[in-house]
Amino acid sequence: MGRTIPAIIDAYHRDPSRLMDILIDIQWDRGCLSDWTIDQIAKILDIPRVDVEQTVSFYHFFSKEPRGKYTVYLNDSVVAGFAGREAVKRAFEEAAGCSFGSVSPDRLIGLFDTACIGMSDQEPAALINEQVFPSLTPEKARRLVQGMRAGLDVEQLKGTDYGDGQNANPLVRSLVRNSIMRKGEVIFSPYAPGRSLHKIASMTPQQVIAVVTASTHRGRGGAGFPTGLKWELARKSPGDVKYIFCNADEGEPGTFKDRVILTELPMLVFEGMAVAGYAVGARKGILYLRNEYRYLRAYLEHTLEEMRRLGFLGPLVAGKAGFEFDVKIQFGAGSYVCGEESALIESAEGKRGEPRDRPPFPVAKGYLQKPTVVNNVETLCAVVKIVLNGGPWYTAMGTKESKGTKVISVSGDCRKPGVYEIAWGFTVNDLLSEVEADDVQAVQVGGPSGSCIGPKEFDRVLAYEDLATGGSIIIIGKGRDLVRDVVLNFARFFREESCGSCVPCRALTAMSQVVLERIAAGKADRSELQAFAGWAGIMQKNRCGLGQTALNPIVTTLKNFPQVYDALVPEGNGPLKRGFDLAAAVADYDAATR
């Protein structure tokens, strides 16, 4: 506990739009955001208490009660489950003397579940006080708790077995491993910082946009919007102040490539933001970074300082008068939906991450109502190379509608999980042989919001025109229980991550989890299976991508793996409800009349 609450708030000029920063600082400084603290914040910022509380209560990493001197957030993703999470969880619980979702009686250790933390190639993994502890085993969990009881700080708990590349940088010192398994022609090709900035300094912004447009480069976050067009729209939007956001929220379960890019090539990312800033006419950039990657903070801040020193950022980028651009880092606080660009903007403004109605689109009215471009980490990196090498160089790679390369995150049942930069046009089969996966039951392409496909479709092509993906590829081996180990986990995930604003999303994510549990328990009826198709149609009418895709795990497995459901929900039970348990239904009566 260092600074006082007023001091923290003053550091952000008592600006309510900086509420996220204020809350993050206080949460990390004091371990919780108590009712008293919320009152203080509301008073000093002169905003209603409920407005502070709506932000506090929205994000997973904010809490009203203390979560222990050591707070363990154990990843609860599908791949973590594959890798033996349950045993690690039990080991933590037994050693700490409390169950997940609570704090030990001596208040030393808090154990909590968390959604995918971007370490799918090194699961089970946990965050403990900002630091990542990958590849956990029950034995390691017990040793960690012993260390906590012995009063070791998190650095001591971590040890020095640092990961490869910049993970071992003195400013990172992380156990995380990059596992870059394949370097492609764009993102991981040789890079000399700053060259693109000097090149565009002799071009007009329109010329820069023309190069990007000619490359037909599309957004790499998953939606695939043409980058040149997005910039053009933002450039044409009236306004003196515009913003470039780099979306580093990377919350899609199974994806971790942005973490690796930010670790190895942070200058490339920031350089891409500066190129975007020049093209659009924006002087301010914001890297919206998920809190799970907070361990990179000092390193990234240092990188920004270096770039200012080198003239790659600041008032006179590349020595060109009028080329002003700088970047700040905005952290999230645990919310998947904030990866949606308008929710991300809301979050950066200090609010709950509720997607906005569109139009207006962010390019017209975004952050603080100003024209805003939101681009994915990888999108911005590719732009630097496109500017240097030209559109034709880029369009020579890939397929008809998908040019360039794609960085994908491969995890699950294979011998070589990690990051692969491939040219678009790879088939799933190509990929499976490259990552050494055999006995594959299914592949989850594009994370839970994508689709789950079976061997019949492994000749399909990774490309916007066929299997589009933001980069998450989860391989599901034949030994896995598709419904219990995969689909149910995804259903829980979407239920938890829905912002709750649209009725269909809020209600049907919850209801579908309940039905799935009944299916998994063999207590569902055929009519309940058949209802899902209609539910998916209802979900199509939600506001954002989360709501529109949240039933994809169920819908795509029902379509591609009907036999799995047939086994759990056999035909023919007549009018009888399988789920009806007579003994349980009359238990109260039995007890009362005994």
């Binding site: 409920v50 407005d51 709950r352 649209c502 009725v503 809020r506 939600n542």
Partner: protein, 231 residues
């Protein structure tokens, strides 16, 4: 003067100011597009999704969409009406709606839409959530069982400084409306009246008051919701 433009809803020729709110323009042109979260005079939010239409084929909520010249709107189609009926049912199953004992019965828009869509027992399993009734406020009774989280109170009720009384708390299906103890402390009777009137269901009620309009003479007791609009 805003430019008046021509457009069509389900083939019917309509006219409205370019850029005006589509759902309001539809009303002016005698087309009723059902909604639960939209309310005249407050910023739209598009959260109930009931007013979803197709504009030139694309799905959009009529409350957040603007009128453009020559736009083709599909509003009352089997697909969309079935969707609306489902959302009304979902809202019923998601909360605890016990109409016979509710003060708002007969003036409740959600109940009225249930009748409009001839709702029978929902096809969606009742969630039976455990939700409370908040009665600490001197003037307002907040019954979370009935709340459909439409945000009308959040968007529409402000004090003279523009401060809100209501906000969301939490997310997903744990979402609730929170009442600010400070800003709402000296809330005027008029604002409370507005809040209860704005609430489409019986989730915000005035304490120590009720049944001013007897059952049988309420808004939707004799005429279905929307029948005052459709020409």
């Amino acid at each position: 003067m805003p430019k008046i433009v021509a457009f069509r809803i389900d083939g019917k020729p309509c006219q409205a100011a370019a850029g005006s709110q589509l759902i309001a323009a539809a009303t002016e042109n005698g087309v009723y597009i059902p909604t639960l979260c939209n309310y005249p005079g407050i910023p739209p939010k598009g959260s109930c999704r009931i007013c979803t239409v197709r504009i030139n084929g694309r799905l959009a909520t009529a409350c957040t969409s603007r009128v453009m010249a020559e736009m083709e709107v599909q509003a009352i189609t089997p697909e969309l009406e079935e969707f609306r009926a489902s959302v009304v049912e979902i809202l019923f199953a998601e909360g605890n709606h016990l109409c016979p004992s509710c003060e708002k019965s007969g003036s409740c828009e959600r109940q009225a839409l249930g009748y409009r869509y001839h709702m029978t027992p929902p096809h969606f399993a009742y969630a039976f959530p455990e939700r409370g009734v908040e009665a600490w406020h001197p003037k307002i009774l907040k019954d979370h069982n009935r709340c459909i989280l439409c945000k009308r109170c959040i968007r529409g009720i402000r004090d003279e400084h523009g401060k809100t009384f209501f906000a969301f708390r939490r997310r997903a299906d744990r979402l609730v409306i929170n009442i600010d103890p400070e800003t709402s402390r000296d809330v005027s009777d008029e604002l409370v009246r507005q809040a209860t009137e704005m609430c489409p269901v019986g989730a915000i009620l005035r304490k120590e008051k009720g049944f001013d309009v007897p059952i049988g003479k309420r808004r939707f007791d004799r005429r279905p919701i929307g029948s005052d609009i459709t020409t």
